[in-house]
């Protein structure tokens, strides 16, 4: 035990030394201003990476003298607080981490200062091309780079290696294989107390986001002009929620209920992650940032007993890995914008991002995903590197009504999941409601 701890400590020290060596490549004193006496306030989500932000923040204080105060909020509370504050010209927070799908809403409310000029001043330091393409897309809006993608997640499928090895089964790659594997582990006497799979079924955002995350891998798309790689994805937002691909996908969600724990119809992110960490699920799909919870022996009974794979896809199709996560933006109403820009320049840089990732933050740069130390510490990183190649920033809507649009779709998807409506009826209703919503808001 002591031996293991010693080796662990040496590894951490070695990684930090290596990080320090990398960090020394940049002369931060010349790159950043003196902000002694200032305190920058950062508002972010209380996802696991908040600890990683705190773990590296002293580095900025050492160079500039400015203190960093990080305040975390839950998802809905953060959306409400950030958007209300900045739309009312409140500059009390200098840096805001926002979900990439909120960017249209924040841009419409006049909350964000573009990052274009800053990048032009020092392109090497910002190294924009080193961000994964989908991450860079998440931080851009209407052709402008607006924020810096520092906390990008990808959705992967996690499976229990011990169970799959015992069963001698291959990891599912298609929807049909997923259903078969989930059915195999559910109510199987050889795997007591284990269920096959739990999906994000809860009414509203949970079910809605799930639909958007899976639709491209099901061969469909959410609206007419949103093809992968489209230059103008919002040009024609005619909704396609009742396409055959969509109806089939919702039928899959409904079928999967049979392979989940009782009450899975009301499961969202937390319930699913907790059930997987408690060893009750054979498989789960989740954002990459949550893999650490499952791999932490203090919080999980399956630490070291799971691996990551790409999410399954429709037979004959391919996986489009969903992208999400957090982009860091300067509050346009902040009184300390110079210091805030300096903080982001420092925080999003390659070297600090590496430290941030080693401290548990989600890798958003290709250099971090390719880093051997990071891959060794977080084994799912190599799957992320593979998954990001086939990802698309607009997989979930990012326009100014994204929050309401996703919730509306989620309410109807949930009705199909619980059997209140057929998938066809539910998605016809979703299509009608979204059409009205877009028309009411002048987007159709």
């Amino acid at each position: 035990m002591l031996h293991a701890k010693l080796i662990g400590s040496i590894s951490v020290m070695a990684m930090l030394t290596a990080s320090a060596a990398l960090a020394q490549d940049v002369d931060w004193k010349s790159q950043l201003g003196d902000h002694s006496g200032k305190t920058l306030r950062v508002m972010t989500i209380t996802d696991p990476f908040i600890d990683s932000i705190n773990a590296v923040k002293d580095g900025f204080t050492q160079v500039t003298g400015a203190k960093i105060e990080v305040d975390g909020y839950g998802y809905d509370a953060l959306h409400e607080k950030e958007l209300l504050a900045c739309s009312q010209n409140d500059g009390s927070y200098d840096v805001m981490l926002i979900d990439g799908i909120w960017i249209g809403e924040f841009a419409e409310a006049g909350c964000l200062d573009p990052v274009e000029e800053k990048i032009a001043e020092n392109p090497d330091l910002y190294a924009w091309d080193d961000f994964t393409p989908a991450a860079a897309g998440q931080a851009s809006w209407e052709g402008q780079r607006v924020c810096l993608p520092v906390g990008i997640y990808y959705e992967l499928m996690y499976y229990r290696t011990d169970l799959f090895e015992q069963a001698g089964r291959k990891v599912p790659e298609t929807f049909e294989e997923l259903k078969e594997a989930a059915a195999f582990f559910t109510n199987n006497q050889d795997y007591p107390g284990v269920y096959g799979y739990a999906m994000n079924n809860k009414r509203g955002a949970a079910a809605g986001q799930q639909w958007f995350e899976w639709i491209y891998s099901a061969g469909g798309k959410p609206w007419a002009s949103n093809d992968i790689g489209a230059a103008e994805p919002y040009k024609d937002q005619t909704p396609l929620f009742n396409s055959q691909e969509s109806v089939d996908l919702v039928q899959l969600f409904r079928d999967m209920v049979a392979f989940g724990p009782p009450g899975v119809e009301s499961f969202a992110w937390d319930e699913r992650a907790n059930a997987f960490a408690a060893g009750k699920l054979a498989m789960i799909n989740d954002w990459s940032v949550r893999a650490q919870i499952a791999n932490d022996p203090k919080q999980s009974q399956i630490a070291g007993k799971f691996k990551a794979a790409l999410m399954p896809h429709k037979d004959g199709g391919k996986t489009i890995t969903p992208v999400g996560g957090w982009v860091a933006c300067v509050n346009t109403h902040g009184a300390q914008k110079d210091a805030a820009w300096d903080y982001l320049k420092w925080f999003a840089s390659r070297s600090v991002h590496r430290d941030f990732v080693l401290a548990g933050g989600p890798p958003s740069r290709l250099s971090a995903m390719e880093d051997k130390d990071i891959q060794e510490k977080f084994p799912w990183t190599s799957v992320l590197l593979e998954g990001q190649k086939d990802s698309w920033a607009e997989v979930r809507p990012r326009n100014s009504i994204a929050f309401q649009l996703i919730d509306t779709v989620g309410a109807h998807v949930n009705k199909a999941i619980i059997g209140e409506q057929s998938p066809k009826d539910a998605m016809d209703a979703a299509n009608a409601d979204v059409t009205k919503l877009l028309q009411d808001n002048g987007q159709l």
Binding site: R203, A278, F403, D407, K415, I417
Partner: protein
């Protein structure tokens, strides 16, 4: 100032003093601060809500408000989700208040009967605990208690051979779970009122009933219910107002689902206002909730007065 000057000033102060001692002035002086307070914190927000409800406006773009008249109200009354929220809120109010009254009466009767025992007082205080807990915390506690695979509720049921219950998973189950939580939290309040009513009944009336050979149901229907109906009605009014504001538990546990089965009025208004930032629709919903509250309360207060006058 010299003494002469002060003396000279006295006659001028006399009418002012008289004015200060005037009842009308004193009443006004006491009432004005309260009126200003009410105007700033209650009436102005209400007036502003009504103003917003007549506009198509997003909370994040207030300057782009467009007057739509009663459009938001018309849309609300044609929105199946809002109508479902009204139905659910009404259903929740009727079922939970009925359950609370019945359970509270039984417990209050037990406490009154056992009031001679010393430990009953302590037990009564313990029984009050649920209503002292913040509803948001209650929601969080029950989201763990009713967690289908990790919660204590299904663990205990499993111990007696009963299968796991999907507490928030089915439409009926979710509504019943919400009802259970509401009843658990607010039965003590109703019990407190009923117990006060029961304790106010003179013991000689019970004695007279016993001498007259009255059975328990005669005592219940002819003595106890008539004696406590005023206080119970007061409790019902307060609980109706509470239920119309019921939000936290649903927000934490079900978010109005599965389907629309647990969507309530306040959650609908909250979503429109603070999740979708549709301030016009959200304000219209808030005004509707207020109107419903006023109508029900006015009706109930009149009923209460009639009972008191009987």
């Amino acid at each position: 100032m010299t003494k002469a000057a002060m003396r000279a000033g006295r006659p001028r102060q006399a009418p002012r003093r008289a004015f200060i001692h005037n009842d009308r002035f004193q009443m006004t002086a006491f009432i004005v601060p309260t009126c200003i307070f009410l105007a700033l914190l209650t009436i102005w927000p209400f007036v502003y809500s009504v103003y917003l409800s007549l506009h198509a406006v997003k909370l994040t773009a207030m300057k782009r408000a467009v007057f739509v008249g009663a459009g938001n109200y018309v849309n609300l009354l044609g929105d199946p989700l809002f109508l479902r929220a009204m139905l659910n809120t009404g259903l929740l109010a009727v079922t939970s208040i009925t359950c609370e009254i019945v359970i509270a009466f039984v417990i209050a009767k037990a406490f009154v009967s056992l009031s001679h025992l010393k430990w009953v007082n302590g037990l009564r205080s313990l029984f009050m605990l649920p209503m002292m807990v913040t509803p948001l915390v209650v929601g969080m506690i029950f989201s763990y208690v009713f967690n289908p695979i990790l919660g204590i509720a299904n663990y205990l049921l499993g111990g007696v051979g009963l299968g796991p219950v999907p507490w928030f998973g089915g439409t009926t189950a979710a509504m019943i779970s919400i009802l259970l939580i509401n009843v658990w939290q607010w039965t003590p309040f109703m019990m407190l009122l009923i117990m006060a009513g029961l304790l106010s009944i003179r013991s000689d009336l019970y004695e007279a009933a016993r001498v007259d050979g009255a059975k328990w149901h005669h005592v219940l229907t002819m003595l106890e219910i008539p004696s406590i109906k005023g206080i119970v009605l007061l409790g019902i009014i307060l609980r109706i107002i509470d239920t119309l504001r019921f939000f936290d538990v649903v927000y934490v546990t079900t978010r109005g689902g599965p389907g629309d089965s647990t969507m309530v009025l306040t959650l609908y208004a909250y979503q429109q206002n603070f999740q979708f930032f549709q301030a016009g629709v959200g304000s219209a919903a808030a005004v509707m909730i207020l109107v419903i509250s006023i109508v029900i309360t006015t009706f109930a207060v009149r009923l209460l007065r009639r009972i008191e006058n009987e």
